[in-house]
Symmetry: C2
Subunit: 160 residues, 2 copies
DNA sequence: CGCTTTGTTCATTATATTTTGAACACTTTG
DNA sequence: CAAAGTGTTCAAAATATAATGAACAAAGCG
């Protein structure tokens, strides 16, 4: 079965596909979010796969990813046993979910890493030691700044 | 020829390889930056390829990318006709270069896109029209915020 | 000049990522 | 409980991305 997209839908989807690229997410995830973003009604998995012409597997998997950081919500429709989905449009929620799911893990990991670096520097030849210590300090600075910027940026996206 | 990396070097390089992943840059670019970051002396292309055990092509291409947004600088060494490279450590310069090379193009593009969306909405059925207009407004809001946050974040990274 | 060294380019190859779709597990329904 | 409907998983296939290395260009040097 084949269902075509309006030009507007295509353009919106295209926009989110590019965003997905920037965020290192699969194309299909961008397509799904775009479709839901411009859809006046919640859609079920079948609607999505038909409209986007992608497989059931990609659709299920893609929606799972989007739910994982709160970019789509499920909607209960009485008397229908299918799951329906709609786009979350509150930027703050999406970003917040994305950060804690996809970004924070990296940052956490970074702290252990720094500790390990400080140990390893001991094994360097004395003439390099000073230089290496300086560079590691530099890195720690970057890390600190990143840690400060994040909550600040989050606050910047205050109302919805 | 085979030159091995110290444990410290490996750890630093590994760190930048991960960063490269987050920024959607090839692994080799992360390796190169990491190597230069922890190297007390500037290195030439041959040093890099030997230390990282990657091809000449990748090395040349990777350094080109790094130079393109100012993450590495070339160093002139009198009496040597090879090019030497060192890591730029001023975060502000790197981020600023990265933004204007890799991010701004997307944002610019976004403005044209919005204009196109506003045209297309005219072609929607009257009962959807209102909803679509609202969503497009929402998108414009996101775009505006992104535009405001960027210079602000840049300012946040004030001293080097 | 001819030879060597250095760096770039780009078609091919290798690798990593994404998508597909068939098999499966649940639920609901008649 | 059989049959149909819905959603998930995952091995295999398709696709996209990055790395390789040989061919090439440019520059220094005798």
């Amino acid at each position: 079965m084949h269902v075509s997209l309006s030009e507007l839908e295509q353009e919106i989807i295209d926009l989110f596909v590019r965003m997905a690229g920037v965020l290192n997410l699969p194309r299909s995830v961008g397509e799904l979010y775009g479709l839901l973003f411009i859809s006046p009604q919640p859609l079920c998995i079948n609607d999505c796969m038909q409209k986007l012409n992608i497989s059931k597997g990609s659709t299920s998997q893609g929606l799972k990813i989007l739910r994982s950081f709160g970019a789509v919500n499920t909607v209960y429709i009485p008397g229908d046993r299918r799951d329906f989905f709609e786009a979350e449009t509150a930027l703050r929620r999406i970003v917040s979910g994305f950060v804690s799911e996809q970004v924070r893990p990296h940052l956490e990991n970074g702290k252990e890493r720094m500790a390990r670096l400080e140990q390893l520097v001991a094994g360097e030849s004395p003439e390099n030691r000073e230089f290496c210590v300086e560079r590691i300090e530099h890195l720690k600075n970057w890390q600190r700044r990143a840690g400060l910027l994040l909550p600040f940026a989050m606050n910047f996206i205050k109302p919805d």
